[in-house]
């Protein structure tokens, strides 16, 4: 399951997707919309994606994980569109016979997503909006204060 969706993500369904009789561990990562970044208050986020490429790259990350950590199963769902505070933007679930692999693979997935998958978020602040410019969430390259 590697999807780009516009509706709220069902975390339970993503977890179910990776559960199986020989999974001893399932690690999930849920990226949620945070209200405060430093002293700036986010009102909501708008995500957009280059959908076909993003979907293909999520599946490719899943393939790389399967190779690097044999026996793992991965599912990734990323939501786009408008997301309010507290809502899940991405859910990554990795199951594995042993926990070490599930943690490592899950971490790998989110780092790859934040570096390579063509999805962008625009923060709508109390006093403006900003396209977020890199995965470290520190540099923005346009800032249209209203």
């Amino acid at each position: 399951m590697f999807e780009i969706v516009t509706a709220p993500i069902s975390i339970g369904k993503v977890i179910e997707e990776v559960g199986h009789r020989n999974a001893g561990a399932i690690v999930t990562f849920i990226g949620t919309v945070r209200e405060m970044t430093g002293d700036k208050k986010t009102i909501y986020l708008a995500y957009e994606a280059y959908e076909p490429m993003a979907r293909a790259m999520l599946a490719e990350i899943g393939q790389q994980i399967k190779k690097q950590w044999p026996g793992t199963i991965t599912a990734i769902v990323h939501r786009i569109g408008r997301l309010d505070i507290g809502e899940a933007a991405v859910v990554i679930a990795v199951s594995s016979p042993h926990r070490q692999d599930a943690y490592a693979a899950n971490r790998y997935a989110i780092e790859r997503i934040k570096k390579l998958v063509p999805i962008w978020k625009k923060e709508h602040w109390a006093h403006g909006e900003t396209w977020i410019g890199n995965q470290q969430e520190s540099v923005s390259y346009t800032n249209k204060d209203i």
Binding site: Y50, M53, H78, K115, W131, G133, Q135, V139
Partner: protein, 76 residues
């Protein structure tokens, strides 16, 4: 004809989500130069994907290819 897809601030800056470049063949580097000169885009940090795969400056784009300008991503 080469189709160029724009996203995020590039889409907003140009005011449309795709461009049609009337070329039959060009390198990624040549496309970058075109984007800078013709549309005044700042694309040092921008990656280029050809037919949904990341490309390097020496890769060649052909008539019918779909190119995407990929600003630094911020998913997750």
């Amino acid at each position: 004809m080469i189709q160029v897809l724009l996203f995020a601030h590039l889409r907003e800056q140009v005011g449309q989500d795709e461009l049609a470049i009337p070329e039959n063949q060009m390198t990624v580097a040549e496309l970058r130069t075109l984007m800078v000169h013709q549309y005044a885009l700042h694309i040092q940090d921008v990656m280029v994907a050809v037919n949904e795969a990341y490309a390097v400056d020496t890769d060649v784009i052909y008539d019918g290819d779909t190119v995407a300008l990929i600003p630094p991503v911020s998913g997750g």
